[in-house]
């Protein structure tokens, strides 16, 4: 087998394995988790009928989505109406391509495409996600979806700025945009949220924790806004916009929007984990070169971290009320944007001063 063929086969295996066997089931179980956790937070029991503790509920949901009537209203712009759900789902899943979800397994690096502009790729693809929503809102040709689409578009553009600026300190520190390098650096010098972990005595690490924590907070909040999650879920604010941009959608097309939102949540968490929480690294666990069992453990650790972040996503959703739209925009432009900007200077100053 020549190198090209084996490369293609291994890449395909990774894509199929990670997208179809891990991400998509995770998406459907994220929906289950959302229902279960929200129920427990609100002193209810949540889904508990299909299977033990309702564990087969996602399968029942999927069947329901597939069997519902796929209704296309007469007043919509057909082509774009059909295009929009695909555009909402694809970017959310594509971003996972550059995220290292494990160390190595049988000597194969556990990342689909290790390109040298990793994090920019993520931002670029994520910025395309807005098209699905905007087009859905426009093609539906009715007022609520339109308002939802416009809101979501301006929201995503606003928060992309803070998103991009918040990660700059990390790359100032590492000097490389490759996500595998980011993880490698964190293994050597401690996770980004604990930059002092590598060398306890060095005051630089302790000082660096300040900009890193600010970055982490701004980035995490911007991810909330990018994925349209509460408290920033204005595009679909059901109390004022019915269902927002997917008001006119039914059946599987609605499901694509719905699952796209959760897929975006998962990839967003994956980016947070990779950039700030050490990726697949867990203190004391060696990487995959010490045996395939450790490779598997690394992958498991990565997804366990994602699951923990998903819990926080859900927890926040069922605690905080929604922002008003002007508050949201003010927060994005006046508050987070400035903080992220100042933070870059702070990090740069610390890095030059201690010459890390």
């Amino acid at each position: 087998m020549n190198p090209t063929t084996s490369f293609v086969i291994i890449s395909l295996l990774k894509i199929v394995g990670i997208v179809f066997l891990v991400i998509l089931p995770m998406v459907s179980y994220a929906v289950y988790a959302e229902r279960k956790v929200s129920a427990l937070i609100q002193d209810r029991l949540g889904p508990n009928r299909v299977g033990p503790a309702g564990l087969f509920q996602p399968i029942a949901d999927a069947m329901k989505f597939l069997l519902k009537e796929d209704f296309t209203p007469a007043h919509v712009n057909k082509f774009y109406y059909w295009l929009a759900p695909c555009l909402a789902m694809v970017p959310a899943i594509t971003t996972i391509a550059v995220v290292p979800f494990g160390s190595t397994l049988f000597g194969v690096p556990m990342v689909i495409a290790d390109i040298n502009v990793g994090v920019l790729f993520v931002f670029a693809i994520a910025s395309l996600g807005v098209y699905g929503i905007v087009i859905a809102g426009w093609a539906s040709n009715s007022k609520y979806p339109f308002l939802g689409g416009v809101r979501s578009g301006s929201q995503m553009i606003s928060y992309e700025l803070s998103l991009g600026l918040a990660v700059v300190p990390i790359f100032l520190l590492i000097g490389n945009l490759r996500l595998t390098e980011v993880v490698r650096y964190q293994i050597d010098h401690g996770w980004m949220v604990f930059p002092f972990a590598g060398d306890w005595k060095n005051p630089a690490g302790w000082l660096l924790a300040v900009p890193m924590w600010i970055s982490f907070a701004v980035f995490a909040i911007a991810v909330f806004a990018e994925t349209n999650r509460l408290p920033f879920d204005l595009p679909e604010a059901e109390t004022e916009l019915v269902g927002g941009y997917h008001t006119e959608y039914s059946s599987m097309k609605f499901a694509l929007f719905f699952l796209g939102e959760y897929a975006a949540m998962i990839t967003g968490s994956a980016i947070i984990v990779t950039l700030f929480l050490g990726g697949w690294h867990f203190p004391g666990v060696p990487d995959g070169s010490h045996g395939w069992i450790f490779g598997l453990i690394n992958i498991f650790v990565f997804f366990a971290k994602i699951a923990a972040l998903l819990f926080i996503f859900i927890w926040v959703r069922f605690t905080l009320p929604r922002f008003r739209y002007d508050q949201l925009m003010r927060l994005g432009w006046v508050f987070f944007f400035e903080i992220a900007l100042v933070n870059i200077f702070l990090a740069a100053a610390i890095i030059t001063f201690f010459d890390r």
Binding site: N116, L120, Y131, V134, G153
Partner: protein
């Protein structure tokens, strides 16, 4: 890069570039332009210029075109769709474009420079982000700063203009 991929993306670019002009619906035009940008970025990536390719998507497809789309949607340009085609202008424009194309082909075909083949890049996996940064802030630092000031002035101008209109 396999040449069929080059042809694929080149054709995608050309077709959607043409669609930008042909489409009567402004939204469809804008979206065709997005696809065109994506094809362009794929071509950049094929040349191992990942940074430029990604920036192409991030800035043009991800931000500029979204704003365009926004404006088009808010203006609700239905009139454009209903307007009759002006065949005289259509044929004239087509002829101008054609003559320009012929001219360009003639000029390029007649110089020897167009026939040279470039040597492959020193290392195809060069850290192009770092290289772009070094060149931009080293060799071209002054022009870069001048452009930055220019953009700042333009931004301030826009704000002043829009504020005045409000009053």
């Amino acid at each position: 890069m396999p040449s069929f991929l080059f042809w694929l993306f080149a054709i995608v670019m050309l077709v959607f570039g043409a669609l930008v002009v042909i489409n009567r619906n402004p939204i469809a035009s804008a979206l065709s332009l997005v696809v065109c940008f994506l094809g362009l970025s794929a071509l950049f990536m094929a040349l191992d210029a990942f940074f430029i390719g990604i920036i192409q998507v991030l800035v043009y497809a991800g931000a500029v075109m979204v704003l365009f789309l926004f404006i088009i949607m808010l203006l609700d340009l239905r009139a454009e769709e209903r307007r009759k085609m002006n065949w005289f202008a259509f044929v004239g424009g087509f002829l101008v474009a054609l003559s320009l194309l012929v001219q360009i082909l003639a000029v390029i075909g007649s110089t020897r420079m167009a026939k040279q083949t470039f040597p492959p890049l020193a290392s195809p996996h060069a850290d192009d982000v770092r290289n772009v940064g070094l060149v931009l802030f080293g060799n071209y630092n002054l022009p870069f700063q001048v452009i930055a000031v220019l953009i700042l002035v333009a931004t301030i101008g826009v704000i002043v203009l829009s504020k005045r209109q409000l009053r």
